[in-house]
């Protein structure tokens, strides 16, 4: 492979940080969900990169990436359903206004 491992890891870290920033700073719950999707993708890149560079014989990395995709699908479905339900009940998708755990 012509590309150093460190580049890959740096790109994944950057993507993860972008996602984290989105999850922390977005006002809209769907925006938060988008950030989480970015983070999951960053993790997946890492899994595949480590498989490719460190244990190309074992398939663990690829398999786990597939599991992560599956879980991400479940998370997106449940998360969006919650957002839709909250939208119906409280008429908002702004995370700051969904503060039922508030003192």
């Amino acid at each position: 492979m012509g590309i150093p491992l460190y580049w890959w890891l740096a790109v994944a870290a950057a993507l993860f940080c972008l996602g984290l920033y989105g999850a922390l700073s977005r006002k809209n719950a769907i925006g938060v969900l988008l950030g989480i999707e970015l983070m999951l993708n960053a993790v997946n890149i890492n899994l595949v990169v480590f498989w490719r560079y460190i244990t190309p014989q074992a398939l663990t990395g690829q398999i786990f990436a597939m599991f992560v995709i599956g879980i991400a699908a479940a998370e997106a479905a449940a998360g969006l359903a919650i957002i839709i339900a909250a939208y119906r009940q409280r008429d908002t998708v702004v995370v700051d206004e969904l503060d039922m755990m508030h003192w």
Binding site: A23, L24, D99, H102, W103
Partner: protein, 720 residues
């Protein structure tokens, strides 16, 4: 016989299947649902007893090495996470008790939840589904081969405790006519309290498991307890202690939560808000037994590297146990709710088990667990029978006297759980009183009832240990706490018996109480039989057979002492005398108690009694320790000062015009009041407001805090 071992997976699986079938398919048919639940646990019981028989017949090899099954669960990188099942002497002993007591409780519940009657619980089927899942969790824990599976089962139980304690908080306003809003609220809070309080312990346990895995790379009990593994763990240091001690303390933290030890005991008495069979299940067969079982199971971790100063894991187990014994027993003296007395009694008896384990005695702790499960289930089911009888009496009372109907409806003071309104029930409920009496004698520990043998073994072990060293150490402490605990136990049980079954009825409902039907009294009688003879299983004159049966599994680690202590007449005699004295004292004091009188204990103990009645104010303390009351307090102080300090200040200003001579005095008031008194109030208020911002309820704030914390931990890890 060995054939039964291969059926082990079905022991937790049948109740689990019952849960799934009820939830998914049969929840519309109540009778079928409860029968499925009972059928599931019956099959479990049959298999479990088959396994017990096979273990007994299998001889020593089966008891120590037993049978195991490993399922490769998740290959992760270079290692594979296994989960698996195993049976050996210790789990076999538990397998004898758990499914059977569950079965008794299930049968009882069918009557308790009023199957087929007009007032049948609307979520009847769901109740049995949750109970089945609860039983499955406990059985899973008992047959777990490794900490991973044990933890999964542990958490399943945590979930079920929440669902069942808060069972009556999910009442549907559209389908039920009369809902006691206060009860709904209490149930909701109790469920949350149990879940969060035990959750604190669970986090500690998970941390312990993670540490253990990072050091040893395995979570299987048998591999962990190899002498080499333990020695390696002893050599590592963490936080100035051997790593093994830190891990043991973290695991014990989990047990403190689940087994309601001080200071996390507060959830257990509130767990009364669930239906009575749930209390019986939690207090006897499942939840609280789980913590004790886990400590017994991981005992080599506690003993490894044990000495008082640098590796005090066992020491703390004994200390916490001793505190809990005294705490539970003294609070039990001052409670009026029949189930609450039993709840504090459970806490105190759990303390005995922890003390037993703290002495390094796996067997004494577990034997007490087994005997206690039988008689405490009996007492709780008996209490449920009494409460139902009282409710019946109350119902009949308003029924038979239609003229007084309006009055009885307004009879707000009636509380079916209040012992002070009972009295004389031995005539009204002749089939409940005898089993209840048996349970009481077993709890108090009078020969030949079950509690005598198991409790005295703990005390005997402590006493002998003390005689060996003659130093003021935890052996002496355990023995003293245990002996005082015997007296206190007898005292509150004597009070309870006198209040509930003796004397004259102190409320119309008690005078018209009804005996419960057979579906409820027959399980009581069966359990009473076990309360009578259960202790003989490990009686010293039979050679303490359970010692070898259970403790052999820990021989591999070369650490656990399995020999039984000899029967000690001094210890047994003393506790018997104290128990009889306590019972008689309680009974004599309360025999002639009349409604409305000041309680005898209160007469003699005065303010101490109030402290006990309020449970040492621990709940209040915890309430104060969280943020909202701080704000409340600050507001109160602020208001108080405004009303009492500012107003006089205003008056003083008015007085200036009249008494100009007093200027210097006024100046003092101004300086002191505004800067000191009011300043303090302002500071409190500001602190309250400021602290309040940490509880924003906004998930993104919390996430930010998590990220910052992780960053700080990484920083610590990198540069320390």
């Amino acid at each position: 016989m060995g054939f039964f071992f291969n059926l082990t997976p079905f022991v937790p699986l049948f109740p689990l299947l019952a849960f799934a079938v009820i939830i998914l398919f049969t929840h519309r048919n109540n009778r079928l649902s409860s029968n499925i639940a009972i059928g599931g646990i019956t099959l479990s019981t049959v298999i479990a007893w088959g396994i017990v028989a096979a273990t007994i017949a299998g001889g020593e090899r089966t008891r120590t090495e037993g049978w195991q099954l490993s399922i490769p669960w998740l290959p992760a990188g270079t290692s594979v996470l296994d989960i698996g099942l195993a049976v050996d002497g210790l789990s076999a002993a538990m397998l004898f008790m758990v499914p059977f007591v569950c079965l008794m409780i299930f049968i009882y519940s069918q009557g308790y939840m009023n199957l087929g009657k007009a007032n049948q619980d609307p979520r009847y089927a769901r109740f049995f589904a949750y109970m089945s899942l609860f039983a499955a969790g406990m059985l899973g824990l008992v047959v777990a081969r490794d900490l991973l599976f044990a933890f999964i089962s542990w958490e399943v139980m945590g979930l079920c405790s929440y669902l069942l304690i808060g069972f009556w908080s999910f009442r549907n306003r559209n389908t039920e006519d009369h809902i006691d809003e206060a009860q709904v609220d209490r149930a909701k809070k109790a469920g949350l309290k149990a879940f969060i309080t035990t959750g604190i312990g669970d986090v500690l346990l998970l941390a312990g498991i993670a540490l253990l895995y990072s050091y040893t790379g395995t979570l299987t009990f048998r591999e962990l307890f190899q002498p080499e593994t333990l020695a390696a763990l002893q050599q590592q240091t963490l936080l100035g202690m051997p790593a093994v001690t830190v891990i043991a303390l973290l695991i014990f933290g989990g047990a403190v939560g689940k087994s309601a030890q001080f200071p996390l005991h507060v959830w257990l008495p509130d767990a009364m808000e669930g239906p009575t069979p749930v209390s019986a299940l939690i207090h006897a067969a499942t939840m609280v037994a789980a913590g004790v079982y886990l400590v017994a199971r991981t005992m080599p971790l506690f003993i490894a590297g044990f000495d008082y100063t640098s590796a005090p894991a066992l020491y703390w187990v004994a200390i916490i146990g001793a505190i809990t014994v005294l705490l539970g027993a003294t609070i039990g003296l001052a409670q009026d709710d029949i189930k609450r007395v039993l709840a504090y009694s459970t806490i105190s008896q759990l303390g005995y088990r922890m003390m037993g384990l703290g002495l390094g005695g796996v067997v004494v702790g577990i034997v007490h667990l087994l005997t206690h499960a039988f008689f405490k289930a009996l007492l709780f089911l008996g209490a449920g029978s009494v409460i139902h009888g009282m409710e019946h009496g109350h119902h009949a009372m308003s029924h038979h006297a239609p003229g007084d109907l309006a009055e009885s409806r307004e009879d707000e003071s009636f509380n079916a759980n209040d012992m002070k309104q009972m009295g004389g029930l031995r005539h009204r409920m002749p089939r409940t009183v005898w089993p209840y009496l048996f349970g009481t004698l077993a709890l108090v520990g009078l020969a030949p009832f079950a509690g005598f043998w198991s409790k005295d073994e703990i005390l005997g072990e402590a006493f002998v240990g003390w005689q060996h060293t003659l130093a003021i150490d935890h052996h002496l402490l355990v023995w003293l706490a245990g002996t005082v605990g015997v007296f206190l136990t007898a005292l509150y049980m004597g009070r309870q018996l006198a209040l509930v079954f003796w004397g004259r009825p102190r409320h119309q409902a008690a005078a018209q109480a009804h005996e419960s039907p057979n579906s409820r009294t027959v399980p009581l009688m069966i359990l009473a039989g076990f309360a009578l003879v259960g202790g003989f299983a490990n009686a010293p004159f039979l050679g303490s057979p359970l010692h070898h049966f259970m403790a052999d599994i820990h021989q591999a680690s070369h650490l656990v002492n399995v020999a039984a202590t000899e029967f000690n007449f001094v210890v047994a005699g003393m506790s018997t005398i104290l128990a009889v004295t306590g019972l008689l004292a309680g009974w004599l004091l309360y025999r002639n108690y009349q409604a409305g009188q000041v309680e005898p204990f209160k007469r003699y103990l005065g303010p101490v009694f109030t402290v006990l009645e309020r449970k040492y104010y621990i709940d209040e303390f915890y309430q104060l320790a969280i943020v909202q009351p701080v704000v409340w307090l600050a507001d109160q102080v602020f208001n108080f000062d405004y009303r009492w300090v500012i107003d006089p200040f205003v008056n003083l200003v008015a007085a200036i015009g009249r008494w100009a001579a007093d200027i210097s005095g006024v100046f003092d008031s101004v300086a002191i009041d505004t800067f000191l008194v009011e300043g303090v109030a302002r500071a409190f208020n500001a602190a309250g407001r400021w602290l309040r911002y940490t509880q924003t309820g906004r998930v993104q704030n919390y996430l930010l805090v998590v990220v910052v914390t992780v960053l700080m931990l990484v920083g610590l890890y990198l540069y320390l």
